[in-house]
């Protein structure tokens, strides 16, 4: 069996394993209790799949004669669970039997050939569900109508007299019934109706339910083929190394020094800054690369360090700038004449996404065709990058999307697709799996950008916040990643969570005189969209400083916020929910334990967190977090819970340890021994409260990360009297002096 068959049979394998699972559990109390069987051998699955050329009902829905419902998923699954949520939305409108639902991943070349019938495949900005819920639900509703129409035509009755339950169509008056599987082939020929009405979410029975993920079982026995696991007959492995100083060049390398090492096939120039060793195995390629003499031209940034970058940003804290994100009244004038001004500078370091699965892509190039197998969050952009690097028409290329071992924004760029294609093009006809080492992944990342912030606030004698000026100085992600969305003055994304209004990233406070502006300072380190993007830094700055202002005003941090939030009821509602959950006004924390709060709006959702921490012998212990989220609608409560709990791991890892320093122009931290992350021993209890208020669709994968750090930092202040304004915390001495 070829790897291609194994990859293509992934969804089928999930189906069979699930069926086996359900059969095994049939006699037990619940579908997910004892006894499930793991997937059949993949060979049998592939053969069965090959024998089933079933026509789709429409682009979103395929129903097989055995009643299996295959829902097509166009967005990337990288652990966030949207695959299951999207299938729930389709199944809800389809009125099928959820236990029969399986999935299939859409290929971008196929999407293009069909005039983008699956629309946008990019998966970022917490948009997988909220960005496609309407048309995927309509896809399910349309398929339902076509299936019913097919049955009605066979019976010669009006479709309106037919009803559906769990994939069984019934004509009550004549007592006839049939199944989706029986009429699916006929439904394919029915003209899709228009003007259908989607269900009111309050009537949902599949969506909104805490169903299990569709894609779990092959993750538990090692059978899921991630990009890293692909193998094909004759395949070679390539390990690249790029100039450690971003933007530097590859001057020369001495291939002859490693050419005779075992397994080495090629030593290649990939592009202006990258060399790669191609060998028969990873270890042999890595061994050769480690001994390959390479000369770099480090370019103009060879002397840049974290200190020079900090100085560059510090200058931006007071520089003139025209780039304003939010202006109310005249904050500068009020601050200039205010009796009392509170001022503080904050700073946030570079951080690496560090997903567990490192960058990889497998490409086979021939003069006629180029294909890639591997992970991407932007399947269509990956296809374009592949075709460009292959120097072939897009129609001659395809990207075989696989499920990803974590990504967090790292695979929103396609430079590694280009790289893999350039390598494969030099080895025509041979599939080449390009794998990065963890070290390469750490130093050639697309980093959560470095920023600093100076905040100045005027508090009057009655404790009212009269004016706030928030100056952010730092790196723009979009200037590097997507220059097309830059405005004349700067990068609008830098104001995430601070915008005057809108449905996406609005500030939750009304302040009579407010100025939030940005001085763009772009070091040479390449930035990227890191789960939560600029919301993370901005929430630390604003939410910690609001606490500082409350302290200056001698007002409780919750009461201080309430006064500013009267015009922001949705922001306030989640803050109140988190505060109530932790007992802010009702219970005292245990002896030695202290509390902190934070709230923010981001990615269309309103989130808040309350934390309980203690500090003993200079060590912070995070005991408990209560998180509240209003995402409008909840498609799968148990997956939303998993995303929110997981967001604290990601956000608190960043707060505790996340720091990529720069020395001699290079990123210093090369692995988890120097780039530590939170592990199970530090994991606090996370209590998740969801308060979906309806009427809008917010994202869930990212926003909560932004409140993790400020809630804990505010609690840390309550515990120690120490304001931590420079992250990460590992650099701060918490011993009480």
């Amino acid at each position: 069996m070829t790897m291609q068959e194994r990859i293509h049979s992934q969804s089928a394998a999930g189906r069979l394993s699930r069926r086996g699972f359900l059969t095994g559990a049939g006699a037990a109390a619940g579908a997910f209790s004892f006894g499930f069987s793991f997937p059949l051998p993949a060979r049998a699955v592939a053969q069965q799949a090959a024998g089933e050329a079933v026509k789709e009902v429409n682009a979103w829905v395929v129903i097989q004669p055995d009643e299996t419902v295959i829902v097509r998923i166009a967005r990337t699954e990288m652990g966030q669970g949207s695959l299951t949520g999207l299938a729930q939305l389709v199944a809800e409108e389809l009125d099928c039997d959820w236990d029969k639902v399986r999935f299939e991943l859409v290929k971008p070349g196929e999407n293009r050939r069909r005039e983008r019938v699956w629309r946008d495949q990019s998966t970022g900005g917490s948009r997988a569900i909220r960005g496609s819920q309407e048309y995927v639900r309509m896809g399910g509703a349309t398929a339902r109508a076509m299936l019913v129409q097919a049955a009605a035509q066979q019976w010669g009755v009006p479709a309106a007299q037919c009803s559906v339950a769990k994939g069984v169509i019934t004509h009550q008056a004549s007592g006839r019934s049939t199944t989706y599987g029986a009429v699916a082939a006929a439904a394919n020929g029915i003209a899709p109706p228009t003007g259908l009405t989607l269900k009111d979410p309050k009537d949902w029975t599949i969506a909104g339910q805490p169903v299990k993920r569709l894609d779990t079982l092959d993750k538990l026995n090692g059978s899921l083929v991630y990009g890293m696991d692909i193998s094909m007959p004759g395949m070679l492995v390539a390990i690249p190394k790029a100039c450690p100083v971003h933007g530097g060049k590859l001057k020369s390398f001495d291939a002859s020094a490693v050419a005779n090492m075992r397994g080495v096939k090629h030593v290649l120039r990939v592009d202006d800054e990258t060399v790669a060793v191609v060998a028969d195995t990873f270890w042999r390629a890595k061994t050769a690369l480690d001994s390959l003499p390479i000369e770099w031209d480090n370019g103009p940034n060879a002397n840049v360090s974290s200190e020079t970058i900090a100085a560059m940003l510090r200058e931006g804290l007071t520089a003139e700038t025209e780039f304003v994100g939010n202006r109310v009244g005249d904050a500068k004038a009020v601050l200039a004449s205010a009796g009392r001004v509170i001022e503080a500078d904050y700073g946030f370091p570079y951080q690496n996404h560090a997903p567990m699965e490192v960058i990889n892509a497998t490409v086979r190039w021939t003069p006629e065709r180029c294909e890639m197998w591997g992970p991407t969050q932007v399947a269509e952009a990956a296809l374009d990058a592949l075709a460009a690097a292959a120097e072939l028409p897009v129609e001659a290329c395809e990207v075989h999307v696989v499920r990803i071992g974590g990504s967090f924004g790292r695979r929103l760029t396609t430079e590694y697709v280009t790289m893999a294609a350039r390598i494969a093009k030099q080895v025509p006809g041979t599939p080449v799996k390009m794998m990065w080492t963890r070290e390469e992944d750490m130093v050639q990342g697309r980093y959560h950008p470095v920023t600093q912030c100076r905040l100045r606030g005027a508090v009057d004698a009655d404790g009212n916040l009269d004016a706030l000026h928030m100056r952010i100085s730092g790196q723009s992600i979009m200037a590097y990643m997507r220059p097309s969305i830059m405005t004349a003055n700067g990068d609008p994304v830098t104001f995430q969570g601070l915008m005057p209004g809108g449905a996406e990233m609005a500030i939750g406070y009304t302040i009579p005189n407010l100025l939030i502006d940005h001085a763009m300072r772009n070091p040479h380190i390449r930035p990227g969209a890191w789960r939560g993007v600029n919301l993370n830094q901005n929430a630390v700055y604003l939410e910690c400083f609001i606490d500082e202002l409350a302290q200056a005003a001698k007002v409780d941090p919750l009461a201080f916020r309430r006064k500013l939030m009267a015009n922001h009821p949705k922001h306030l509602a989640v803050l109140e929910a988190a505060a109530k959950g932790i007992g802010w006004e009702t219970t005292k924390p245990p002896e030695g334990v202290h509390r902190g709060l934070a709230q923010v709006m981001g990615f269309g959702s309103y989130v808040a967190a309350a934390a309980e921490v203690s500090v003993k012998d200079g060590r912070l212990k995070i005991h408990r977090i209560v998180a509240a989220t209003d995402p409008g609608y909840v498609v799968n409560p148990q997956q939303v819970e998993a995303q929110i709990a997981g967001s604290f791991v990601y956000g608190l890892s960043a707060m505790l340890y996340g720091e990529c320093t720069v020395k001699d122009g290079r990123i210093v931290e090369e692995n988890f021994d120097t780039y530590n992350v939170m592990r199970l021993d530090e994991m606090p209890v996370v209590e998740v409260i969801t308060v979906p208020s309806g009427g809008f669709w917010g994202g869930v994968g990212e926003p909560t990360i932004a409140v993790a750090a400020p809630a804990v930092l505010n609690a840390l202040f309550a515990a120690t009297g120490k304001r931590v304004r420079q992250l990460p915390l590992k650099n701060i001495d918490l011993n009480l002096s």
Binding site: G35, T216, S231
Partner: protein
């Protein structure tokens, strides 16, 4: 040639002595369930059982292992019937991206073999694998559920 006992079968591989066991398992034996995460024994994605003990295979040269050592990978753990840890993981929907979970499952099953009734603190101290998605709360719950099931089965 090096002889290894992997999942109860003796296999022969032609590899350099310094090749980490992880890459021998993945590329020469052809079992890709065991993952590469860091290569420096930090993250635990590469965890296998070596004579029943959870072992990080990415930093262990193959020369340190002989045919006498029993290596069990994720493919061998639940080959007959799923291990109680795998069952608990399915019940609680522990995995997110899943990439680290095979290592988690190998670490958890080894822990339970040595300590059938671990406390929360035992689990927190013993399971040091990295998960970037943040499945830790369900990992903790999963180990406890598996422990309960294994104890009840006697």
């Amino acid at each position: 040639m090096t002889k290894l006992n992997v999942n109860g079968k003796v296999v022969e591989v032609d590899v350099e002595d310094d090749t980490p066991l992880l890459w021998v398992i993945r590329e020469h034996v052809g079992l890709t369930g065991t993952k590469y995460g860091c290569g420096v024994a930090q993250c635990g994605a590469c965890t296998v059982h070596l004579d029943g003990v959870a072992t990080r295979s990415c930093a262990l040269p193959v020369s340190a292992v002989t045919e006498e050592n029993r290596i069990v990978t994720i493919e061998g753990l639940g080959a007959e019937t799923p291990h109680p840890v795998q069952q608990a993981w399915a019940e609680l929907d522990v995995a997110q991206c899943g990439y680290c979970q095979v290592g988690m499952i190998m670490a958890a099953s080894s822990l339970l073999a040595q300590n059938p009734n671990p406390s929360d603190d035992d689990i927190r101290a013993e399971i040091t694998n990295i998960c970037r998605c943040g499945t830790y709360p369900r990992v903790l719950a999963g180990v406890k559920l598996a422990a309960e099931r294994m104890t009840n089965r006697g």
